[in-house]
């Protein structure tokens, strides 16, 4: 095991309001790490700092060190960071006017990769990795991304993120808008994907965290209260605040 993401003394602000108060964490390569905590605790802000999405908010900025694969992401162009670190959001957001094929190929085309046979290969590989290929292979260029079901749209977004071959995939509540079957497919997918890359998933669903992640971090009021193996967090956490949260005694 190695460290895919190393975060040191990470602070983030919205205007003058400090949302993260110095986060330190080392995220293991080829594992899924869950980030849990009550609304407003800073968990989404935290993962948005890992691909420099946080700074796209007006007046938002971050300080500290975030290394992906040993490279400081604040010392490289943001576009390069987002190639290394893909992201999937709570609500599936395929490009509605594009075909399924073009949705997956969009990132590659933006990166200047236009050769047809390369695109064909990557689109197929990405859709297979996202466990969507069999369902859409016959309508790749006939149907738009928006015509798919919610669960399929989310897997399409995952395929789009995978197409640029990221080292890390950030998932911000990727199944919260999905039915149980689609949720199970996403969770199975996380299990497969972490063989190839590192996953950081924000979730409000603690059962989901316990099912998919080897490690879990509990955030509260902009602090990382506890970070440990998932089974430790959910059976015998070290910090009373973690226990109170996961047992529903507050939050």
């Amino acid at each position: 095991m190695g460290t895919a993401v190393e975060v040191r003394d990470l602070k983030a602000w919205f205007g003058k309001a400090e949302a993260l108060h110095g986060i330190n964490i080392a995220i293991e390569t080829n594992h899924a790490t869950a980030v849990i905590g009550p609304s407003g605790c800073g968990k989404s802000t935290f993962i948005r700092c890992l691909n420099r999405m946080h700074e796209t908010n007006p007046d938002a900025h971050a300080e500290g060190e975030v290394k992906i694969g040993g490279s400081d992401i604040y010392a490289m162009p943001a576009v390069d960071v987002r190639r290394k670190v893909g992201m999937v959001f709570q609500k599936p957001n395929p490009f509605p006017s594009m075909t399924i094929y073009d949705n997956v190929a969009a990132g590659l085309k933006l990166n200047g990769m236009g050769k047809r046979h390369v695109l064909d290969e990557v689109v197929e590989r990405s859709l297979q990795q996202a466990a969507l290929w069999e369902e859409v292979k016959d309508v790749l260029k006939k149907k738009s991304g928006a015509s798919l079901s919610g669960g399929q749209q989310q897997r399409l977004c995952i395929a789009r993120a995978l197409a640029v071959n990221p080292e890390v995939l950030l998932m911000d509540e990727p199944a919260s808008a999905l039915d149980p079957i689609s949720t199970a497919k996403i969770e199975d997918l996380i299990f497969e994907l972490k063989q190839k890359l590192t996953i950081v998933i924000v979730t409000h669903n603690m059962q989901q965290a316990s099912r998919v992640a080897e490690f879990t971090g509990f955030f509260l009021l902009g602090n990382l209260v506890e970070f440990d193996k998932t089974e430790k967090i959910f059976t015998n956490p070290s910090d009373k605040r973690t226990e109170d949260y996961i047992t529903g005694r507050f939050g």
């Binding site: 603690m206 959910f234 059976t235 015998n236 226990e243 996961i246 047992t247 529903g248 005694r249 939050g251």
Partner: protein, 225 residues
């Protein structure tokens, strides 16, 4: 405070297991009383009460499984429900041991009284204290008291060995009272098993409160638990 209903249900589960604990404790008390008084009616009461304990065991299990399935408990709540399920099984076994004792006493009553070299009431007193302390540690979440229960088990094992040795000798040297000696030996063994169940309960309390697994000598040093 959130999940108010769930936490009320956990309290309800605790009340139910304590009701069952009361029945199991009473069964042992009655069985020991039956031995000291050679009282056939008390023996029959122990036998009659067994079905109520068995029924309570099923009800507690069902309730605990429902909570696991419906509430997906975490951390201390998960450990509590797991501990209750295991304590429930131990209490049912305590009830079984009481029945075994009562049956042996019924057999003894059918034979002449004989002065046996074993102090069953004294041993029973210690075992009942262990059961009482184990349950008190559960009620109060008191791991220090639970630790004392674990330590007390060695003394019961010693008393059982002594009883075995003394009664074996009696059976060899005085064959005319072999049946009574064998019954007393079985009762001592039943009491020793009740102490084992009290020990299990104490271990489950430590698991519930501290998340520490101290079974089978794991973490030989229980100090600091």
């Amino acid at each position: 405070m959130t999940r108010i209903r769930f936490h009320q249900e956990l309290e309800d589960l605790k009340h139910r297991i304590l009701e069952m604990a009361g029945m199991a404790e009473q069964a042992i008390d009655l069985a020991v009383q039956a031995y000291t008084q050679r009282d056939l009616a008390l023996c029959r009461r122990v036998l009659a009460n067994e079905s109520a304990i068995n029924r309570a065991e099923r009800e507690v299990d069902e309730f605990a499984v429902d909570l696991l399935a419906m509430q997906q408990p975490m951390a201390v709540d998960l450990r509590f429900i797991l501990a209750v399920i295991k304590i429930n099984a131990d209490l049912e076994r305590v009830g079984d041991q009481a029945v075994n004792i009562a049956q042996r006493v019924m057999n003894m009553i059918s034979h002449p009284v004989f002065d046996l070299p074993v102090d069953i009431p004294a041993m029973a007193g210690r075992v009942r204290a262990m059961v009482r302390d184990a349950l008190k540690s559960f009620i109060e979440g008191d791991t220090e008291l639970a630790r004392h229960v674990l330590e007390a088990d060695d003394e019961i094992d010693r008393l059982n060995h002594e009883a075995f040795s003394a009664l074996s000798t009696t059976m060899q040297t005085k064959p005319d009272c072999a049946v009574q000696a064998l019954d007393a030996l079985s009762i001592a063994r039943n009491l020793e098993r009740v102490a084992d169940h009290a020990t299990n309960i104490a271990e489950d309390v430590i698991f519930w409160v501290r998340g520490a697994d101290v079974r089978h000598g794991a973490g030989q040093t229980t100090a600091g638990i």
